[in-house]
């Protein structure tokens, strides 16, 4: 592409040269070709500029030097034009290159500072979120080590169950952190296959119930729910995070419904709860990283503030879209919609 533009620049110089000469006799048309060398030198660097120098020399010789329309070099000083073109090309491109490098360094320094900031937030969030489950694992394990003889069988089983549950929670947090890192780095690899969303929804609901969700969670899927092309594992993680988010942020007596809207071009999974809803000022940031909604009377502990950000990252990697809506009805409730695109061939 730089060479195409260089050629166009030289062609333009020829046309301008002709135009000017028809208006007034011009002693030195070669100055116009100097512009045709400067332009690629500044924009594209040395080699396109050197290319433009030779091309300018040839064009200048061919169109403007007697005998016109031949490439004979009658006088030695005509070669001087070529030498000057080349010197201008090399010096200008070197200068422009240095300026470009400096600009790039500035941008890189700024990106590095931003990455550093994100990393610090991430580390702060991680150390906070890891400490709670680690405390209870350590507490339960040391209780068992120190007081095993005094604890009844059911108390022992309870402590062991707590260790297992908290460790599973940590595993899930690690998965989410890995996912967000990959999404941020643009390195999310999708393993596309036909996915039965009915099964994804069912697995997500079953997993939430197994983890002890107190809310009523129901699926209301249409009979004609088509399959979509997606990464089964990631689609499950995205929907799982949304359902988990609803479980964490609503009171126990809430009903959470997963349903779907089928359009010719897309399938939307909707997770709707009739809980207190998201405050209006938080709603626009619902999918941002580390945004947590604190509300009294909710059932669960805090999340990492990554769940919805990951869900959005996964759905967008599928070229889909996400929407959060609150309130849903009667001033209450939250609805998160994950829209996956459909292919025409879906059965």
């Amino acid at each position: 592409m730089p060479y195409v533009w260089s050629t166009i620049a030289v062609a333009a110089a020829v046309l301008i040269g002709y135009a000017l000469r028809s208006l007034a006799p011009l002693p030195n048309v070669s100055l116009i070709f100097l512009l045709a060398v400067l332009f690629p030198a500044v924009s594209f660097g040395m080699w396109p500029a050197i290319y433009a120098s030779f091309l300018s020399f040839l064009a200048y010789n061919f169109f403007f030097i007697h005998p016109i329309y031949t490439l004979t070099v009658a006088e030695p000083h005509e070669l001087l034009a070529l030498v000057i073109f080349l010197i201008v090309a090399i010096i200008t491109s070197a200068l422009a290159g240095r300026v470009r490098d400096q600009a790039r360094e500035t941008v890189m320094a700024r990106t590095a500072a931003e990455t550093e900031r994100v990393r610090n937030t991430l580390l702060a969030a991680i150390s906070h979120d890891f400490r709670t489950p680690l405390s209870s694992i350590l507490g339960a394990a040391t209780s068992l080590l120190d007081y095993r003889d005094k604890l009844g069988a059911s108390a022992q089983a309870d402590l062991l169950g707590q260790i297992k549950q908290e460790a599973e929670g940590l595993d899930e947090m690690v998965r989410n952190l890995l996912a967000i890192t990959r999404i941020d780095a643009g390195g999310l690899e999708l393993n596309y296959d036909w996915v039965d969303l009915r099964e994804v929804v069912q697995r997500v609901i079953n997993a939430a119930r197994r983890r002890g969700a107190a809310q009523r969670i129901t699926a209301a899927l249409p009979g004609d729910l088509p399959m979509v092309r997606a990464d089964a594992m990631l689609a499950e993680q995205a929907l799982g995070n949304v359902v988990n988010n609803a479980v964490l942020h609503t009171p126990m007596e809430t009903t959470i419904t997963v349903d779907a809207v089928v359009d010719p071009a897309s399938v939307s999974l909707r997770v709707t709860d009739d809980g207190p809803g998201i405050p209006a000022e938080t709603l626009p940031h619902a999918f941002d990283k580390f945004v947590r909604v604190r509300r009294a009377g909710t059932a669960g502990r805090e999340g990492t503030g990554l769940g919805l950000a990951i869900a959005r990252g996964i759905v967008e990697a599928h070229r889909g879209s996400t929407v959060a809506q609150s309130p849903v009805a009667d001033g209450r409730g939250t609805r998160v919609v994950l829209t996956f695109p459909r292919e025409e061939t879906s059965p």
Partner: protein, 237 residues
């Protein structure tokens, strides 16, 4: 087979080896360990174990190299240990000839179930599939009969072929491609949408609760697994 079943664990993390040793010995197996690709390959050749548990992340290379090399001369069952989100890696390992996989981190109960399934499957590899019983479900492959709680279940020929194929590998994972190849033929090896439709229909007919399958289990992104016989209560992973 003389004496106790011998398990070779290929992993370089001391903490993993430590808890695996107690779990494996509690199940009355013998355990040996190797920490690198080179050591694992050499050990399997010099002193063949009955089964291999193989971590794919090894200090001197990719655990898949162990599968590749060992499969040139041995059909010892190999169970791969790999992170949950590395589906592609697991499929590659299964294609190279691994028998099964367990997601890391794993529960010991799940690992032992996989181990038993792989050992059992190896012993019956030569013979045909006997009658498989999972919970109240009875699959009589030679007589092409399926019953649930004593009642006959009517399956279409394709549904039966699908179930019979899964039953042949009961307790073990089978990839989408393996099922499609065997039941629909190599021309349909990528038509996973057929598979999903048929698995859905099959579940409606044979699962006690089709919304929470306990017989035909899904391994997301990889394939399916028929629950281990006599152990249908095992929760899906």
């Amino acid at each position: 087979m003389t004496g106790r079943t011998r398990v070779l664990v290929v992993d370089d993390e001391a903490a993993i080896l430590r808890f695996l040793k107690s779990a494996i010995e509690a199940n009355n197996y013998e355990m040996a360990s190797a920490g690198t690709v080179a050591e694992a390959t050499q050990r399997i050749a010099a002193d063949p174990p009955d089964i291999v548990l193989l971590d794919l992340a090894l200090p001197d290379g990719d655990g898949k190299d162990v599968i590749r090399r060992v499969r040139e001369w041995s059909d010892v069952p190999i169970i791969v240990l790999s992170a949950r989100d590395r589906e592609v890696e697991k499929i590659e390992a299964l294609d190279l000839g691994a028998d099964d996989f367990v997601n890391k981190p794993f529960g010991v109960g799940e690992l032992m179930a996989r181990l038993r399934a792989a050992l059992r499957h190896r012993m019956q590899r030569s013979g045909e599939t006997p009658v498989v019983r999972i919970g109240g479900l009875e699959i009589d492959v030679p007589r092409r009969r399926v019953g649930r709680d004593g009642q006959e279940v009517r399956l279409t020929p394709k549904e039966f072929e699908l179930l019979a194929f899964l039953a042949r590998f009961a307790g073990k994972v089978v990839t989408h491609k393996q099922v499609l190849n065997a039941v629909w033929g190599p021309a349909h090896a990528d038509d996973t949408q057929y598979l999903r439709v048929y698995v859905g229909q099959l579940r409606q007919k044979i699962e006690p609760d089709p919304s929470e399958p306990s017989v035909v289990l899904t391994e997301p992104g990889i394939g399916y697994r028929l629950a281990e016989p006599r152990d249908a209560a095992m929760p899906p992973s």
